[in-house]
């Protein structure tokens, strides 16, 4: 098991470096001069040249790449180009918790609601509970989350006046709508996956055995069905988290939540590339860490992984 964990952590390390390389390269080759864009149309060529040297743009691609990559390990992404003298990392540190709160709460809802819906649907195959749960899941998958967000704002902020429409001034209340909209897609995917996993194990012999022992249905589901159906569910939960993180720019811009996603979008419009690099890298690393946790869970749940890496009983 140690070998497995070590393996995954080395892979995470490698992923971070390659992702950083990708982010840097994509942004480096965006046409147009960021220095000229930031200074505006009236800047003289000499001013642009001076700005370029301040921003470090006069150095070669490899030098810039090396500076960026070596900076990552000291958690330094340089200063913001637009808000001079403000380190990107301090802006990220201020905004990260908001993105994480939304992501984690949405993930918890995904797991609880998604898995319960899936279990209900799977154990009532072809009955009304099944159809209802799967219809809800299908609707959640199909409706674009940012549209649902807009509709919820109109209903709950404008018509009912219960929740704020944008911003985070109202504390917990202002996070309710962003969390709900972020979790919709995940709830749907989780419930669909849980249902089909449950159906796969539903008619297995050991389930019949468990029932014939006289176990109540609730225990059969919790102790015999779910553990065996768990593997694909864990995968979907993990990838769902990636989707929530990647969707954060859109959701945060709809609700005006000053998190990393919104900051990234604004920085992109202002061509503040150090900020964009920092934000994308943070979101990617965060996703990779969650995937690592998922992989480790896999190792714990699936005895085959344990055996392969020589940790478990053979």
């Amino acid at each position: 098991m140690k070998k497995y964990i070590l393996n995954r952590i080395i892979w995470l390390f490698f992923t971070v470096i390659v992702t950083a390389f990708m982010i840097f390269t994509i942004l480096y080759f965006i046409p147009g001069d960021p220095a000229a864009a930031i200074l505006g149309a009236n800047a003289s060529p000499a001013e642009v040249e001076r700005m370029r040297s301040i921003m470090g743009l006069d150095k070669s691609y490899l030098t810039q790449l090396w500076e960026f990559l070596s900076g990552i390990f000291h958690l330094q992404f340089g200063n913001s180009w637009v808000y001079a003298d403000t380190p990107v990392i301090s802006i990220i540190a201020e905004r990260l918790p908001r993105t994480l709160i939304i992501g984690c709460c949405a993930m918890v809802i995904n797991i609880i609601v998604g898995v319960s819906l899936g279990v209900i649907a799977g154990t009532h195959e072809a009955k009304w509970q099944d159809s209802l749960a799967m219809t809800i899941a299908m609707l959640f998958i199909s409706a674009p989350d940012f549209w649902v967000a807009l509709i919820l704002i109109v209903i709950f902020a404008k018509n009912l006046g219960w929740l704020p429409a944008a911003g985070i001034q109202d504390g917990v209340k202002s996070y309710i709508l962003p969390v709900i909209t972020s979790s919709l897609g995940g709830v749907a995917n989780n419930s669909r996956q849980t249902r089909s996993s449950i159906l796969e194990v539903y008619r297995e012999d050991y389930i019949t055995t468990a029932r014939s022992k006289g176990l109540p249905e609730r225990k059969v589901i919790a102790k015999h069905m779910l553990p065996n159906a768990l593997m694909p569910i864990i995968t979907v939960v993990g990838t769902g988290f990636g989707r929530i993180t990647a969707g954060s720019p859109v959701i945060e811009s709809v609700f005006g939540v000053p998190g990393i996603g919104l900051y990234m979008l604004n920085a992109m419009n202002q061509r503040d590339y150090p900020a964009v690099r920092g934000c994308v890298l943070f979101l990617a690393v965060w996703t990779a860490v969650v995937m690592l946790i998922v992989d480790l869970l896999y190792g714990m749940v699936d005895p085959r992984v344990k055996v392969r890496y020589g940790g478990g009983k053979r």
Partner: protein, 300 residues
């Protein structure tokens, strides 16, 4: 004599091929027709596509016709879905916009799948180092969540219709690659491949004539579902200002425009979203139906 026999043989083979192909297709179609959900989804999708293609016949207004005397007029007989902030007819904008949205989703999913299939076939068939390189690249590619990658790429390429397709297709590619390669792994040791190799078929022919038809079903389903996903993603990109740009009436861009007035004129966001949701819903239901029809084992 020999030549004639050869020709006859070829003819017969061709006939057999055709028969077999049509029978798989026919079988799939028959199964799909049996499912009422697939039928409804298919019909709904056809209606939406036909309406978008035949938009000039259905509405008297052009999507860019402005009418300053009728700004923000709610749904009425003249404008069934109302008008926007420039007095443009929402229904005609939505119908013309559907061309962009549906074309974006379809093109992105198909291009992504085709490239995914090519790389997946190469990885799966050759194995060894080639496979390791391609699959590791896929892992790295997917380490950046798809939406983030699309945002980055479309920022790099600049906004626009074709750049959006490219950005979305690049994000979709690794999914196809993984899927095809996984399928091929289970086929690699089968006898028909050995047979094809022993009669000296070329590598290309083995990969695409013998192997691909046996592993294509899941990717057809994934592509169909992908169309729905890509329509949503394209709309999200346009919504945050990176995809198709106004005044092009793409659905996401219309939502972005309607958002500024949504508290006073909610119909401006309700209808574009409904169009996206209905299209994606029918595509997804069709995908579900197709999956059940192509592989009855998967039917739950």
């Amino acid at each position: 004599m020999e030549a004639e026999r050869g020709r006859n043989m070829k003819k017969r083979n061709k006939k057999q091929d055709q028969y077999e192909n049509s029978s798989l297709l026919r079988e799939t179609l028959t199964r799909m027709v049996k499912s009422p959900t697939s039928k409804v989804a298919c019909a709904a999708l056809c209606v939406i596509v036909i309406c978008c293609v035949a938009a000039p016949l259905l509405t008297p207004y052009k999507p860019t016709d402005m009418d300053v005397t009728h700004m923000f007029s709610g749904p009425s007989a003249a404008h069934p879905l109302g008008t926007d902030s420039y007095g443009r007819d929402m229904l005609s904008r939505l119908l013309y916009g559907g061309r962009y949205s549906i074309a974006l989703g379809l093109a992105a999913a198909v291009f992504g799948s085709v490239f995914g299939i090519i790389f997946g076939c190469i990885a799966g068939y050759f194995g060894g180092k080639v496979e390791t390189v391609i699959m590791r690249l896929c892992d790295v590619w997917t380490s950046l969540p798809a939406m983030l990658l699309c945002i980055l790429i479309s920022a790099a390429l600049g906004p626009g219709f074709f750049n959006t397709i490219l950005a979305l297709a690049i994000g979709f590619m690794p999914i196809g690659t993984r899927m095809i390669r996984g399928q091929i792994l289970s086929e690699r040791s089968k006898e028909y491949l050995e047979a094809a190799e022993s009669i000296n078929c070329s590598t290309l022919s083995i990969m695409f004539r013998h192997l691909l038809p046996n592993v294509i079903s899941p990717i057809i389903v994934a592509t169909t579902m992908g169309v729905g996903l890509q329509i949503t993603m394209a709309a999200s990109l346009s919504f945050i200002g990176l995809g198709v740009q106004p005044p092009a009436p793409e659905w996401g861009a219309m939502l972005a425009a309607g958002r500024q007035h949504m508290l006073t004129y909610p119909y401006m966001i309700i209808f574009p979203g409904l169009f996206i949701a209905c299209t994606v819903l029918s595509v997804n239901l069709l995908g579900d139906g197709l999956r059940d029809a192509l592989d009855p084992k998967l039917r739950s």
